[in-house]
Symmetry: C2
Subunit: 249 residues, 2 copies
C-alpha cells in the first residue's frame, strides 16, 4: 500500500505527527509537501478541501489517502495507520486507550497553538500579542504541568518493564508525545527546561523515540523540517517563561 | 450490554454528546450523574480519573464503561458506540468519515468553549471577561460561519435523498451536530439567529434529529439538563452579537 500524505509545505505543523509514524514504520508513502514545488503542493492540498466538488471533504489538513479511502484528523489517521504499521496494541482495549492518548495529545496541541492565537486563528499574532503574553503565562503555570504530569503518571504506572504509553511496544501515541515535547522545547525552551525536571519519564520516552533507528535517520535527514513561526509550535521569546531578575535587583 | 456513563452532574457539557446517542438508541445504560446524589456522582467520576491508582486513567470525563472496556474522549466513545447502537455507516470509508466529522465537531466545541475562556480554563470567566468579548466577536465573525458553512456544504452535496451527514441514516455525527447547534442557540442566540439564515440544511438537520421519537421523548423529559453558565456552552449576553443601534442614533 502506497499512502499519500496531504499537508501544507514549509511547516511541520500537524502533518509531522503523521509523517513520524510513516517514517518510523518505513512505510511506502508520497509526501505531497515534497513531491512538487511548494506552490503546487499547496494547490493540491487545497483542492482536496474543496467542499463544492467533493462528497466528503476534510475540514482541514492533514489528510491521508490509502487506496480508495481518505482519512482526516491526526488522531483518526493514526488510529487507521497504527495496526497497519505495527504501531498499535493488538487488543481492542489497548487500541481504545492508544486512541484516547492521541486525542489528549490533540487537545494539548490545540492549547499550545492557542497561546499564540488566544483571540482566534484568523487574526495575526501581532494583533493579539498582548493577550497572548497573558495566555502563555497561564498555560505555563497551569496547563503545561497538568498535561505533562498526566503523561508522566501514565508512564510511571507502567514501570520500567513496559516503557511505552500503550501496549508492549512503541505506538503512534509515543511518537505523538515525542513530537509534542520537541515542539514545546522549540516554542517555550525556558518553560520546558523547568517543567521537564518534574517529568523524567516523559523526557526519557522522548529520547527513546528519537533513538529508534529509522526515526533517528529521518530526524537527521533534510526531510525533517525545522520548526518555525508559521506552524502550531512557535517560538516567540515574549511568550516563554521570563528569566528571574538578577539577585538584589 | 449495560453501559456506564461517567460525567459531572449538573451540567450537560460534553457528557450530553454521549447521552444523546444512548438515548436515541434506547440503550441500556447507567448515568452516573443521576444514579446517586451530586456529591457522590462527582466523587465517582473523580475516582476514575485518579492517576495514582489506575493503569489507564482518562485525562477528563466523559468516559464510558462497557464490560471490561473503558473509553474516554467524546469522539472515541461515539466511534465505539456507533456500530453497536446502529448509529454508524456500515462500511469502513463511512465510519472513517463519520469519525472525522465527530472530530471536527470536537474542535468546533473547543473553540466555542474558548470564547469564554480565551486565557485558559483555570481562570474564572470574570477575570478574563474583557478578552472574552474580543475573542467572541472574532469567533462570531470568522469561525462560526466557517464551521457551520462546512457542515452546510456537506449536507448540500448529499442532497434531499440522503439528508444525513454520513451514510443512509442518522449517525452519531448528526446527533453531535444537533447538540452543538442547540448549545450555540443557547449561548449566542443573536449570532446564531443571524448565522442560521445562511445554513438552512444545518437547521433542518437539527429539526430532523429533534423529531426522532426516542430523542423527542428524551428532550421533553426531566432527564434532559438545561444549559447553564458552568458548562461548555455558556450564555453571557456581552459575548453575543450586539444589537444594531436604532436608526438615526
Amino acid at each position: 500500500m502506497r499512502y499519500e500524505l496531504y499537508y501544507w509545505p514549509d511547516i511541520p505543523g500537524r502533518g509531522e505527527f503523521i509523517r513520524l509514524a510513516l517514517e518510523d514504520a518505513g512505510a511506502d508513502y508520497v509526501d505531497i509537501a515534497y513531491s512538487q514545488d511548494a506552490e503546487h503542493a499547496s494547490a493540491a492540498v487545497a483542492a482536496g478541501l474543496d467542499t463544492r466538488h467533493r462528497a466528503r471533504p476534510p475540514f482541514a489538513p492533514p489528510y491521508l489517502r490509502a487506496g480508495d479511502l481518505e482519512i482526516s484528523h491526526v488522531a483518526n489517521i493514526l488510529a487507521f495507520l497504527g495496526p497497519r504499521l505495527a504501531l498499535a496494541p493488538a487488543d481492542e482495549a489497548g487500541r481504545l486507550w492508544c486512541h484516547a492518548l492521541a486525542l489528549t495529545l490533540t487537545d494539548f496541541t490545540a492549547e499550545i497553538h492557542d497561546i499564540h492565537h488566544p483571540l482566534g486563528p484568523g487574526l495575526y499574532y501581532e494583533d493579539q500579542r498582548e493577550v497572548a503574553v497573558r495566555a502563555a503565562a497561564t498555560f505555563i503555570d497551569q496547563r503545561l504541568p497538568r498535561f505533562l504530569g498526566y503523561f508522566e503518571s501514565v508512564l510511571d504506572a507502567r514501570g520500567k518493564r513496559r516503557p511505552w504509553l500503550a501496549g508492549d511496544a512503541c505506538s503512534t501515541a509515543d511518537l505523538y508525545l515525542f513530537q509534542v515535547v520537541a515542539g514545546l522545547r522549540y516554542a517555550l525552551p525556558r518553560a520546558m527546561h523547568a517543567a521537564e525536571r518534574a517529568v523524567p519519564n516523559v523526557s526519557a520516552l522522548a529520547a527513546r523515540v528519537a533513538a529508534r533507528p529509522r526515526l533517528a535517520a529521518y530526524l537527521a535527514s533534510d526531510r525533517r523540517m525545522a520548526f518555525n513561526t508559521d506552524g502550531v509550535f512557535r517560538h516567540y521569546p515574549e511568550l516563554d517563561l521570563q528569566p528571574e531578575p538578577p539577585y538584589g535587583s
